[in-house]
Symmetry: C2
Subunit: 161 residues, 2 copies
Amino acid sequence: MNSETATQTPEDETLPSVPEHPFIKEMLRQVRASDTYGFYDNASPAELLKPFVVTKAQRKQLPLVADPDDQVIGRLKNWYAAIAMQIEAGSGRMASPLMNLSSEGFGRVVIIAGHLVVVDRTLREAHRFGFISLEKMCEDADRLVASALALIEAHPAAAEG
Amino acid sequence: MNSETATQTPEDETLPSVPEHPFIKEMLRQVRASDTYGFYDNASPAELLKPFVVTKAQRKQLPLVADPDDQVIGRLKNWYAAIAMQIEAGSGRMASPLMNLSSEGFGRVVIIAGHLVVVDRTLREAHRFGFISLEKMCEDADRLVASALALIEAHPAAAEG
């Protein structure tokens, strides 16, 4: 790799393995929905989800200076939108994400159902958003969704809004 | 007024009357706190709060194209920060605002206490943020704070976080 590619996600030709998991279907829906012009209509699931996989070696090479670019912000939105959809599917209630990201990649994202904050995360180093594998992504999603559903169950009146 | 000043808030030399109201003190604290360099150290309360007063005639002249400028975004943040502080004072719970503003002046702002969304507002025409008078600002603040405190009272466990 030369010094020019080091300022981008280092290129790696291998495609990630795509687990059989309901969250993967939701992620693909989100990614395809944000592909307004159909540029990726012919892309495979592995190709579409590859940008979400960031290995430890790649992480270190992603610079933290300046604003996170629109593509990584788009991926963050895809991810939290997919989590919100899974929460809706599991609870039967509307859930919507709200993200505030500062120019330095710090911020906060919440997912709201009724009057209840069901996901609340601090964002750090948004430039480096990604998972070491798609399996890990599905595990994280399952954990976030399960804790959101537990909160809704604990506070049904607040979640009704 | 010439065509150049029409793209700014139309200038008006009269200062607003400043009501005796606890919310005014909080607003002044917020405005002074965001004056990092002390430019307005010698400004009177009326001078500091004047930009929050936008008459109907002024509103119409504020253009809605392009991004709301940093100053109006700063005033929106001052306003919701002051509301959050009043909610804290009334409930004894931490309350923090989270705002997402698109480049066209649309967005959403929430104030969160624990797991509870105590204020939830859609932002439209953020370019034109302001009140017809400071009395009206205090009335709006009282209403928002009262409804937030009622929500906390209705859902104390969720507000505990």
